[in-house]
Protein backbone atom coordinates (compact mmCIF):
# COMPACT_ATOMS: atom_id res chain seq x y z
CA UNK A 1 0.00 0.00 0.00
CA UNK A 2 1.28 3.43 -0.81
CA UNK A 3 2.96 5.80 -0.09
CA UNK A 4 5.79 3.37 -0.58
CA UNK A 5 8.57 5.34 1.04
CA UNK A 6 6.52 6.38 4.08
CA UNK A 7 5.27 2.85 4.64
CA UNK A 8 8.79 1.58 4.61
CA UNK A 9 8.13 -0.67 1.63
CA UNK A 10 10.98 1.00 -0.21
CA UNK A 11 14.09 2.41 1.37
CA UNK A 12 14.51 6.20 1.41
CA UNK A 13 17.25 6.11 -1.22
CA UNK A 14 14.60 5.44 -3.80
CA UNK A 15 12.95 8.73 -2.93
CA UNK A 16 15.41 10.78 -4.95
CA UNK A 17 15.18 8.45 -7.91
CA UNK A 18 11.44 8.80 -7.92
CA UNK A 19 11.80 12.56 -7.61
CA UNK A 20 13.93 12.61 -10.73
CA UNK A 21 11.64 10.35 -12.76
CA UNK A 22 8.53 12.17 -11.69
CA UNK A 23 10.25 15.42 -12.51
CA UNK A 24 10.96 14.19 -16.03
CA UNK A 25 7.30 13.38 -16.47
CA UNK A 26 6.29 16.74 -15.04
CA UNK A 27 8.61 18.71 -17.28
CA UNK A 28 7.75 16.71 -20.36
CA UNK A 29 4.03 17.16 -19.92
CA UNK A 30 4.29 20.85 -19.13
CA UNK A 31 6.35 21.55 -22.20
CA UNK A 32 4.11 19.39 -24.36
CA UNK A 33 1.12 21.36 -23.16
CA UNK A 34 2.77 24.56 -24.22
CA UNK A 35 3.63 26.04 -20.88
CA UNK A 36 7.09 26.85 -22.08
CA UNK A 37 5.94 30.04 -23.71
CA UNK A 38 4.69 33.02 -21.77
CA UNK A 39 2.16 34.04 -24.38
CA UNK A 40 0.27 30.82 -23.94
CA UNK A 41 0.33 31.05 -20.16
CA UNK A 42 -0.93 34.60 -20.02
CA UNK A 43 -3.68 33.77 -22.45
CA UNK A 44 -5.98 32.54 -19.73
CA UNK A 45 -6.09 35.99 -18.19
CA UNK A 46 -6.93 37.68 -21.44
CA UNK A 47 -9.30 35.11 -22.75
CA UNK A 48 -7.45 34.03 -25.85
CA UNK A 49 -5.93 30.78 -24.57
CA UNK A 50 -7.56 28.83 -21.80
CA UNK A 51 -4.94 26.07 -21.79
CA UNK A 52 -3.65 26.93 -18.33
CA UNK A 53 -7.01 26.56 -16.71
CA UNK A 54 -7.87 23.41 -18.61
CA UNK A 55 -4.62 21.66 -17.77
CA UNK A 56 -4.66 22.84 -14.17
CA UNK A 57 -8.22 21.81 -13.44
CA UNK A 58 -7.93 18.49 -15.24
CA UNK A 59 -4.77 17.68 -13.32
CA UNK A 60 -6.27 18.57 -9.95
CA UNK A 61 -9.46 16.66 -10.72
CA UNK A 62 -7.52 13.60 -11.85
CA UNK A 63 -5.18 13.64 -8.89
CA UNK A 64 -7.74 14.34 -6.20
CA UNK A 65 -10.32 11.87 -7.51
CA UNK A 66 -7.57 9.34 -8.06
CA UNK A 67 -6.26 9.72 -4.52
CA UNK A 68 -9.67 9.28 -2.99
CA UNK A 69 -10.43 6.17 -5.01
CA UNK A 70 -6.98 4.75 -4.37
CA UNK A 71 -7.55 5.29 -0.68
CA UNK A 72 -10.87 3.52 -0.78
CA UNK A 73 -9.37 0.61 -2.69
CA UNK A 74 -6.60 0.36 -0.14
CA UNK A 75 -3.86 1.19 -2.61
CA UNK A 76 -2.71 4.25 -0.73
CA UNK A 77 -3.07 5.41 2.84
CA UNK A 78 -4.24 8.94 2.43
CA UNK A 79 -3.52 9.82 6.04
CA UNK A 80 0.19 9.49 5.34
CA UNK A 81 0.49 11.93 2.47
CA UNK A 82 1.80 15.43 2.85
CA UNK A 83 -0.79 18.08 3.51
CA UNK A 84 0.38 21.64 2.90
CA UNK A 85 0.32 23.56 6.18
CA UNK A 86 -1.92 26.59 6.13
CA UNK A 87 -0.42 29.96 6.89
CA UNK A 88 -3.38 32.13 6.05
CA UNK A 89 -1.76 35.53 5.58
CA UNK A 90 1.40 34.25 3.97
CA UNK A 91 -0.63 32.19 1.55
CA UNK A 92 -2.80 35.11 0.50
CA UNK A 93 -0.09 37.73 0.19
CA UNK A 94 2.42 35.29 -1.23
CA UNK A 95 -0.15 34.04 -3.69
CA UNK A 96 -0.98 37.52 -4.88
CA UNK A 97 2.72 38.19 -5.40
CA UNK A 98 3.08 35.02 -7.43
CA UNK A 99 0.08 36.14 -9.45
CA UNK A 100 1.76 39.49 -10.01
CA UNK A 101 4.87 37.66 -11.12
CA UNK A 102 2.78 35.63 -13.52
CA UNK A 103 1.36 38.71 -15.20
CA UNK A 104 4.49 40.82 -15.18
CA UNK A 105 6.88 38.06 -16.07
CA UNK A 106 4.57 35.75 -17.92
CA UNK A 107 5.71 32.67 -16.05
CA UNK A 108 5.41 30.92 -12.75
CA UNK A 109 8.38 29.20 -11.14
CA UNK A 110 7.65 25.81 -12.69
CA UNK A 111 6.89 26.96 -16.21
CA UNK A 112 9.91 29.23 -16.29
CA UNK A 113 12.09 26.15 -16.02
CA UNK A 114 10.27 24.63 -18.97
CA UNK A 115 10.84 27.76 -20.99
CA UNK A 116 14.48 27.98 -20.01
CA UNK A 117 14.96 24.32 -20.89
CA UNK A 118 13.94 24.95 -24.48
CA UNK A 119 16.07 28.00 -24.83
CA UNK A 120 13.80 30.88 -24.01
CA UNK A 121 15.92 33.68 -22.67
CA UNK A 122 13.03 35.38 -20.93
CA UNK A 123 12.46 32.15 -19.04
CA UNK A 124 16.05 32.16 -17.89
CA UNK A 125 15.78 35.78 -16.85
CA UNK A 126 12.66 34.90 -14.89
CA UNK A 127 14.58 32.18 -13.08
CA UNK A 128 17.28 34.71 -12.33
CA UNK A 129 14.61 36.94 -10.87
CA UNK A 130 13.40 34.03 -8.76
CA UNK A 131 16.84 33.62 -7.23
CA UNK A 132 17.03 37.32 -6.52
CA UNK A 133 13.59 37.29 -4.98
CA UNK A 134 14.32 34.34 -2.70
CA UNK A 135 17.68 35.81 -1.75
CA UNK A 136 16.06 39.15 -1.01
CA UNK A 137 13.54 37.37 1.16
CA UNK A 138 16.23 35.49 3.02
CA UNK A 139 18.27 38.58 3.69
CA UNK A 140 15.38 40.77 4.79
CA UNK A 141 13.60 37.96 6.59
CA UNK A 142 14.62 38.92 10.08
CA UNK A 143 13.31 42.43 9.99
CA UNK A 144 10.77 42.37 7.19
CA UNK A 145 9.03 39.06 6.87
CA UNK A 146 9.52 37.19 10.08
CA UNK A 147 6.22 37.95 11.73
CA UNK A 148 4.26 37.54 8.56
CA UNK A 149 6.00 34.32 7.66
CA UNK A 150 4.59 32.38 10.58
CA UNK A 151 1.34 34.23 11.08
CA UNK A 152 -1.96 32.45 10.99
CA UNK A 153 -0.55 28.96 11.20
CA UNK A 154 -3.45 26.56 11.15
CA UNK A 155 -1.30 23.55 10.54
CA UNK A 156 -1.74 20.93 7.85
CA UNK A 157 -5.48 21.14 7.71
CA UNK A 158 -7.66 20.14 4.81
CA UNK A 159 -10.59 22.06 3.43
CA UNK A 160 -13.05 19.33 4.30
CA UNK A 161 -11.81 19.30 7.88
CA UNK A 162 -12.43 23.02 8.14
CA UNK A 163 -15.89 22.67 6.66
CA UNK A 164 -16.67 19.63 8.74
CA UNK A 165 -17.63 17.49 5.77
CA UNK A 166 -16.17 14.32 4.40
CA UNK A 167 -13.54 14.30 1.72
CA UNK A 168 -15.97 12.64 -0.69
CA UNK A 169 -18.52 15.41 -0.21
CA UNK A 170 -15.95 18.10 -0.83
CA UNK A 171 -14.71 16.29 -3.91
CA UNK A 172 -18.24 16.10 -5.24
CA UNK A 173 -18.70 19.83 -4.98
CA UNK A 174 -15.27 20.45 -6.38
CA UNK A 175 -16.15 18.32 -9.39
CA UNK A 176 -19.30 20.35 -9.89
CA UNK A 177 -17.17 23.47 -9.76
CA UNK A 178 -14.64 21.99 -12.18
CA UNK A 179 -17.35 20.94 -14.64
CA UNK A 180 -18.72 24.46 -14.47
CA UNK A 181 -15.28 25.95 -15.11
CA UNK A 182 -14.66 23.64 -18.06
CA UNK A 183 -17.85 24.83 -19.70
CA UNK A 184 -16.89 28.40 -18.90
CA UNK A 185 -13.62 28.00 -20.76
CA UNK A 186 -15.56 26.97 -23.83
CA UNK A 187 -17.89 29.93 -23.46
CA UNK A 188 -15.01 32.34 -22.97
CA UNK A 189 -13.11 30.99 -25.93
CA UNK A 190 -16.15 31.43 -28.12
CA UNK A 191 -16.76 34.93 -26.84
CA UNK A 192 -13.20 36.03 -27.36
CA UNK A 193 -12.81 34.46 -30.75
CA UNK A 194 -15.13 37.12 -32.00
CA UNK A 195 -12.79 39.81 -30.85
CA UNK A 196 -9.84 40.26 -33.05
CA UNK A 197 -6.64 41.15 -31.41
CA UNK A 198 -3.03 40.35 -31.79
CA UNK A 199 -1.15 38.62 -29.08
Amino acid sequence: MGPLIQQGILSPEWDMIFAFIIGISFGFILEQAGFSTARKIVGVFYGYDMTVLRVFLTAVVTASVGLLYFNYLGWIDISLIYINPTFIWSAIIGGVLVGLGMIVGGYCPGTSFAAAAIGKIDGMVFIGGLFIGVFFYGETYDFLFKNLHDAGNLGPVTLYQILGISSGTLEFFFLIFAIFMFWMTIVITKAFSNRQFKY
Binding site: I17, G23, A33, T37, A38, F87, G129, F136, K198
Partner: protein, 177 residues
Amino acid sequence: MEKIQEPKKYMNPYLAGFLLGLTMIAAFYFSGRGLGASGAIKSTVTAVVSAVAPAHADKSEFYASYKGEGSSPMNSWLVYEMLGFIFGALISGIIAGRIKKDIVKPPKITSRTRLIMAGLGGVAAGIGATLGRGCTSGAGLTGMSNLSLAGFISFMAMFGGAFMFSFFLRKFWINKA
Protein backbone atom coordinates in the same frame (compact mmCIF):
# COMPACT_ATOMS: atom_id res chain seq x y z
CA MET B 1 -13.55 29.96 -34.94
CA GLU B 2 -10.17 28.50 -34.29
CA LYS B 3 -7.49 30.58 -32.77
CA ILE B 4 -4.30 31.05 -34.72
CA GLN B 5 -2.84 27.63 -35.35
CA GLU B 6 0.49 27.08 -33.71
CA PRO B 7 3.21 25.87 -36.09
CA LYS B 8 4.00 22.95 -33.80
CA LYS B 9 1.10 21.11 -32.32
CA TYR B 10 0.75 21.23 -28.58
CA MET B 11 -0.73 18.35 -26.67
CA ASN B 12 -4.44 18.43 -26.02
CA PRO B 13 -4.81 20.32 -22.72
CA TYR B 14 -7.19 17.78 -21.24
CA LEU B 15 -4.84 14.95 -22.06
CA ALA B 16 -1.94 16.92 -20.64
CA GLY B 17 -3.91 17.65 -17.50
CA PHE B 18 -4.88 14.00 -17.15
CA LEU B 19 -1.28 12.84 -17.51
CA LEU B 20 -0.17 15.51 -15.09
CA GLY B 21 -2.75 14.26 -12.62
CA LEU B 22 -1.42 10.72 -13.03
CA THR B 23 2.08 12.04 -12.42
CA MET B 24 0.91 13.62 -9.20
CA ILE B 25 -0.77 10.42 -8.09
CA ALA B 26 2.52 8.66 -8.76
CA ALA B 27 4.34 11.25 -6.68
CA PHE B 28 1.93 10.70 -3.81
CA TYR B 29 2.07 6.95 -4.22
CA PHE B 30 5.84 6.68 -4.24
CA SER B 31 7.00 9.57 -2.12
CA GLY B 32 3.92 10.59 -0.19
CA ARG B 33 4.12 14.12 -1.50
CA GLY B 34 3.18 16.15 -4.53
CA LEU B 35 5.12 18.21 -7.02
CA GLY B 36 6.77 21.57 -6.50
CA ALA B 37 9.16 24.00 -8.07
CA SER B 38 9.94 27.01 -5.93
CA GLY B 39 11.37 24.84 -3.16
CA ALA B 40 14.28 23.91 -5.39
CA ILE B 41 15.15 27.59 -5.75
CA LYS B 42 15.03 28.06 -2.00
CA SER B 43 17.30 25.07 -1.49
CA THR B 44 19.76 26.35 -4.07
CA VAL B 45 19.89 29.84 -2.60
CA THR B 46 20.39 28.37 0.86
CA ALA B 47 23.17 26.14 -0.41
CA VAL B 48 24.94 29.02 -2.14
CA VAL B 49 24.66 31.32 0.85
CA SER B 50 25.86 28.57 3.18
CA ALA B 51 28.84 27.94 0.96
CA VAL B 52 29.78 31.59 0.59
CA ALA B 53 29.01 32.84 4.09
CA PRO B 54 28.34 29.88 6.38
CA ALA B 55 28.27 31.87 9.61
CA HIS B 56 25.72 34.24 8.22
CA ALA B 57 23.60 31.39 6.98
CA ASP B 58 23.62 29.66 10.33
CA LYS B 59 22.62 32.81 12.15
CA SER B 60 19.68 33.51 9.89
CA GLU B 61 16.52 31.76 10.93
CA PHE B 62 15.42 31.52 7.35
CA TYR B 63 18.47 29.82 5.88
CA ALA B 64 18.85 27.60 8.90
CA SER B 65 15.37 26.23 8.43
CA TYR B 66 16.12 25.30 4.85
CA LYS B 67 19.45 23.78 5.61
CA GLY B 68 17.72 20.72 6.85
CA GLU B 69 19.34 17.93 8.74
CA GLY B 70 22.95 17.15 8.06
CA SER B 71 23.47 16.86 4.36
CA SER B 72 23.48 19.65 1.86
CA PRO B 73 20.20 21.46 1.18
CA MET B 74 20.67 20.46 -2.44
CA ASN B 75 20.00 16.88 -1.44
CA SER B 76 16.28 17.52 -1.42
CA TRP B 77 13.40 15.92 -3.24
CA LEU B 78 12.52 19.10 -5.10
CA VAL B 79 16.01 19.65 -6.42
CA TYR B 80 16.11 16.18 -7.92
CA GLU B 81 12.62 16.69 -9.25
CA MET B 82 13.52 19.95 -10.98
CA LEU B 83 16.61 18.39 -12.50
CA GLY B 84 14.33 15.75 -13.97
CA PHE B 85 11.92 18.49 -14.95
CA ILE B 86 14.50 20.32 -17.02
CA PHE B 87 15.50 17.05 -18.62
CA GLY B 88 11.89 16.16 -19.42
CA ALA B 89 11.10 19.58 -20.82
CA LEU B 90 14.23 19.39 -22.92
CA ILE B 91 13.24 16.05 -24.37
CA SER B 92 9.77 17.31 -25.11
CA GLY B 93 11.18 20.36 -26.80
CA ILE B 94 13.52 18.29 -28.92
CA ILE B 95 10.75 15.91 -29.98
CA ALA B 96 8.48 18.79 -30.87
CA GLY B 97 11.22 20.75 -32.53
CA ARG B 98 10.69 23.68 -30.25
CA ILE B 99 14.25 24.19 -29.12
CA LYS B 100 15.14 27.68 -30.13
CA LYS B 101 17.07 30.33 -28.38
CA ASP B 102 14.82 33.33 -28.52
CA ILE B 103 12.70 35.60 -26.45
CA VAL B 104 8.99 35.09 -26.17
CA LYS B 105 7.36 38.43 -26.31
CA PRO B 106 4.13 40.03 -27.35
CA PRO B 107 4.15 42.21 -30.43
CA LYS B 108 5.02 45.87 -30.15
CA ILE B 109 7.20 45.24 -27.08
CA THR B 110 10.95 45.44 -27.33
CA SER B 111 13.07 42.55 -26.23
CA ARG B 112 14.70 44.70 -23.64
CA THR B 113 11.41 45.63 -22.04
CA ARG B 114 10.33 42.03 -22.08
CA LEU B 115 13.46 40.84 -20.35
CA ILE B 116 13.21 43.53 -17.69
CA MET B 117 9.61 42.55 -17.06
CA ALA B 118 10.57 38.89 -16.90
CA GLY B 119 13.19 39.68 -14.33
CA LEU B 120 10.84 41.77 -12.23
CA GLY B 121 8.18 39.12 -12.47
CA GLY B 122 10.69 36.58 -11.28
CA VAL B 123 11.57 38.68 -8.26
CA ALA B 124 7.93 39.08 -7.33
CA ALA B 125 7.27 35.38 -7.79
CA GLY B 126 10.38 34.51 -5.81
CA ILE B 127 9.26 36.56 -2.84
CA GLY B 128 5.70 35.37 -3.17
CA ALA B 129 6.62 31.72 -3.43
CA THR B 130 8.85 31.87 -0.37
CA LEU B 131 6.27 33.69 1.68
CA GLY B 132 3.35 31.64 0.48
CA ARG B 133 5.17 28.33 0.94
CA GLY B 134 4.93 27.39 -2.67
CA CYS B 135 4.14 28.40 -6.20
CA THR B 136 1.38 27.36 -8.58
CA SER B 137 2.86 23.87 -8.83
CA GLY B 138 3.57 23.21 -5.20
CA ALA B 139 0.92 25.16 -3.38
CA GLY B 140 -1.66 25.39 -6.10
CA LEU B 141 -1.55 22.13 -8.01
CA THR B 142 -0.44 19.83 -5.21
CA GLY B 143 -2.24 21.77 -2.53
CA MET B 144 -5.57 21.43 -4.24
CA SER B 145 -5.01 17.79 -5.16
CA ASN B 146 -4.67 16.80 -1.53
CA LEU B 147 -7.64 19.02 -0.71
CA SER B 148 -5.64 21.08 1.75
CA LEU B 149 -6.95 24.44 2.87
CA ALA B 150 -3.64 26.04 1.96
CA GLY B 151 -3.98 24.82 -1.60
CA PHE B 152 -7.35 26.41 -2.17
CA ILE B 153 -6.33 29.68 -0.56
CA SER B 154 -3.11 29.80 -2.56
CA PHE B 155 -4.83 28.97 -5.82
CA MET B 156 -7.44 31.67 -5.34
CA ALA B 157 -4.84 34.21 -4.30
CA MET B 158 -2.57 33.43 -7.23
CA PHE B 159 -5.15 33.38 -9.97
CA GLY B 160 -7.25 36.07 -8.39
CA GLY B 161 -4.22 38.28 -8.00
CA ALA B 162 -3.12 37.62 -11.55
CA PHE B 163 -6.55 38.48 -12.88
CA MET B 164 -6.47 41.71 -10.91
CA PHE B 165 -3.11 42.73 -12.25
CA SER B 166 -3.87 41.54 -15.77
CA PHE B 167 -6.17 44.49 -16.23
CA PHE B 168 -3.33 46.93 -15.71
CA LEU B 169 -0.95 45.17 -18.03
CA ARG B 170 -3.31 44.45 -20.84
CA LYS B 171 -1.63 46.99 -23.06
CA PHE B 172 1.56 45.05 -22.59
CA TRP B 173 0.31 41.65 -23.61
CA ILE B 174 -2.39 42.27 -26.19
CA ASN B 175 -2.90 44.86 -28.82
CA LYS B 176 -5.95 45.68 -30.80
CA ALA B 177 -5.41 44.41 -34.28
